[in-house]
């Protein structure tokens, strides 16, 4: 009996403890600075986005986004602990505070963003994924229209199958779907020549292709059939951290718009310092305006970010560019000036 009483008392004490701590509302931004280390949730299993190199370090686009955050918040892009997470764990890990932020191929959706759903807040999209099509180079197919009356390998019972059907129907083109159980079989069917094209998410197509014997003989078409905007995320309660993350991502895009790169950043800073007329550049690089302080960062956070990772285009080229091991055409991920969708609001 005494044991039972003590258990009940213990539980009561625990819940009281929870209640008091939940009211504590200080931002994680300060916690990260005090800890002098960013805990970043990644996947660790997605080629091109985050994976383990042979020397035991993580690499990829998602990892570089983590580095940009660490450079902006702490001032050192190496002060990061990567936490490999599965899809099931990732939101709990944010809610419990096990990680500071998530940079793990997470699709930005309403129910994840809302307080009635997962209660997260998303930073701007860092990669617009979407369903794509891969064909053999020698087939000389270059767009959806060329695939009329051809057969296409697709995984059955997925939204992928639905999307390809919708795309061809709306273009009123006839085609023959060849359905398989999972992606590996789709790949096998495509390689055996049972279909002219295969379809899946573009990042997956690129990853699958880099495992082919002659990856150069296959191309991913520019057509995108569905929206999978992948964005970093953090706890929706924490406005300060969310603001900082949002503007770090925008700074990467804005730097590319202005042609500021890892190699010319020092020169740009010098130019801006010497020329008081260049007001937008001076604000962007933190010489005037005190923009960084408004989001809880140092005023020159942009300089630190670009120095450590380069601008968005450089990050993309490094991990997903034409010469990388998982090449994905930039397509939608180009700047708005070049026909893509990436655009940064002004740094004012």
């Amino acid at each position: 009996m005494r044991r039972l009483v003590s258990v009940i008392v213990g539980l009561a004490a625990l819940s009281a403890g929870c209640a008091t701590t939940n009211q504590d509302n200080s931002s994680r931004l300060n916690l990260i600075k005090n800890r002098n280390e960013l805990i970043c949730g990644v996947s660790g299993k997605i080629p091109g986005f985050s994976f383990l190199k042979s020397d035991g370090t993580y690499q990829g686009l998602d990892v570089d986004i983590c580095k940009a955050f660490a450079a902006a918040i702490i001032g050192d892009s190496e002060k990061i602990q990567y936490r490999p997470l599965t899809a099931a764990e990732r939101f709990t890990a944010i809610k419990t505070g096990e990680i500071d932020l998530l940079s793990r191929n997470t699709t930005f959706t309403l129910s994840r963003d809302s307080s009635g759903g997962n209660g997260l807040t998303f930073a701007p999209v860092v990669f617009h994924d979407g369903q794509g099509l891969m064909v053999k180079k020698e087939s000389e197919i270059s767009s959806l229209k060329d695939l009329a009356n051809k057969s296409i390998c697709v995984g059955s019972g997925t939204t992928t199958e639905q999307n390809i059907n919708d795309a061809f129907e709306s273009a009123s083109l006839p085609y023959t779907p060849i359905k398989y159980q999972d992606l590996n079989q789709v790949v096998a069917g495509y390689l055996q020549g049972r279909c002219s094209a295969m379809t899946s998410d573009r990042s997956q197509l690129a990853a699958a292709r880099s495992g082919f014997k002659n990856p150069k003989e296959h191309i991913i078409l520019d057509d995108v059939l569905s929206k999978e905007p992948l964005a970093p995320a953090s706890d929706g309660q924490d406005q300060k951290l969310a603001d900082a993350m949002r503007w770090v991502v925008y700074s990467l895009i804005s730097a590319e718009e202005q042609g500021i790169t890892k190699s010319n950043i020092d020169k740009k800073v010098q130019i801006a310092k010497n020329n008081p007329q260049l007001k937008p550049l001076r604000r962007f690089l933190g010489i005037d305006g005190g923009l960084g302080e408004k989001i809880g960062l140092s005023n020159d956070f942009v300089v630190k970010v670009i120095k450590s990772t380069g601008n968005y285009g450089e990050i993309y080229e490094r991990h997903l560019g034409q010469n990388s091991e998982v090449p994905i055409p930039r397509g939608q991920n180009e700047l708005y000036k070049k026909g893509g969708v990436h655009i940064s609001p002004p740094f004012n």
């Binding site: 403890g17 299993k45 080629p47 035991g56 370090t57 602990q81 099931a88 709990t92």
Partner: protein, 344 residues
Amino acid sequence: MLKLYTISSTISFKNARKTLFSNSFNTIITLLIILFISVACFNTFEWLIFKANWKVVISNLPLYAFGSFPANEQWRPATWIISLLSLSIFTLWGPEWKWLRKNLLIVWVGTIPLGLYLLYGGLGLSPIMSRQWGGLTLTILLTVCSSLLSLPIGIVLALCRQSSLPMVQKLSSIFIDVMRAIPLIAVLFFGQLLIPLFLPVEIEIDRVWRAIFAFTLFVSAYIAEDIRGGLQSIPNTQIEAANSLGLNQYQIIQYILIPQALRIALPALTNQSIGLFQNTSLMAILGLVELLGIGRSILANPEFIGQYIEVYVWLACVYWIVCTIMAVLARHLEQRMTINQANF
């Protein structure tokens, strides 16, 4: 020819001709099976030696062994694994020094604090967070810590279940039955996803320890049942005899019940620990980069995409080797225990 023929062996030449080639139908079947086996063997070896690209294994060996442990500190987990290995060899074939043999159990148990010290650091070594542990080191650590913790808990649970106090008996029965009725993966999900939600924010239990905690809860229920089997096979007359000798409750448990129950339960306990070692691979689904998890991470490296077979064959070999060592050690322990019993 006669020498080959023994009663126990049925596959001698004489028997072979009698059973495998007795008539034409059997001959055809036998030849077909031989053909099948040799084709399978040939293809396997051809793949192993010529077709497989073992670079994915060779260039990542430190990763498989230690995960992303900092490179200049990797001697620490290496020391631990080598000490475990040499201790196994010593236990099996080492010299029969009495004082050492007597303390061998303490040495074995002592490897766990040694391992934790080497991995965590502190006291002269640079501290390393548990999230950098990985690979085989983490798999072994999960196994030894969980089994060391669950053995005493299992013994206590088994004794409680035999207890005459109804409250104690009921509570431990409920715990054991509930744990056995839940799949392991559910307990692990509970440990990884729910425990942090229940705890206040300041108290953060490491995910490695949460995994060990979940494994301990689960395995201790099974160990309790194994040991209860051992306890029940001890005749009541022994307890009565002990009572009449004037031993108290604790002495009876310590000197009479536990040693015998453990000896009887030993084969079952071996099963549990080998099962536990293999079950740690479930943590790969939950994001720990133990042996299987690190294999899956390596496969995401664009350099090695598509080399699933090499990686999984290699992992199977590693699991097989470690499990075999564990089984041989357990058999050795069983033999020694029966020798000790005979000496009584």
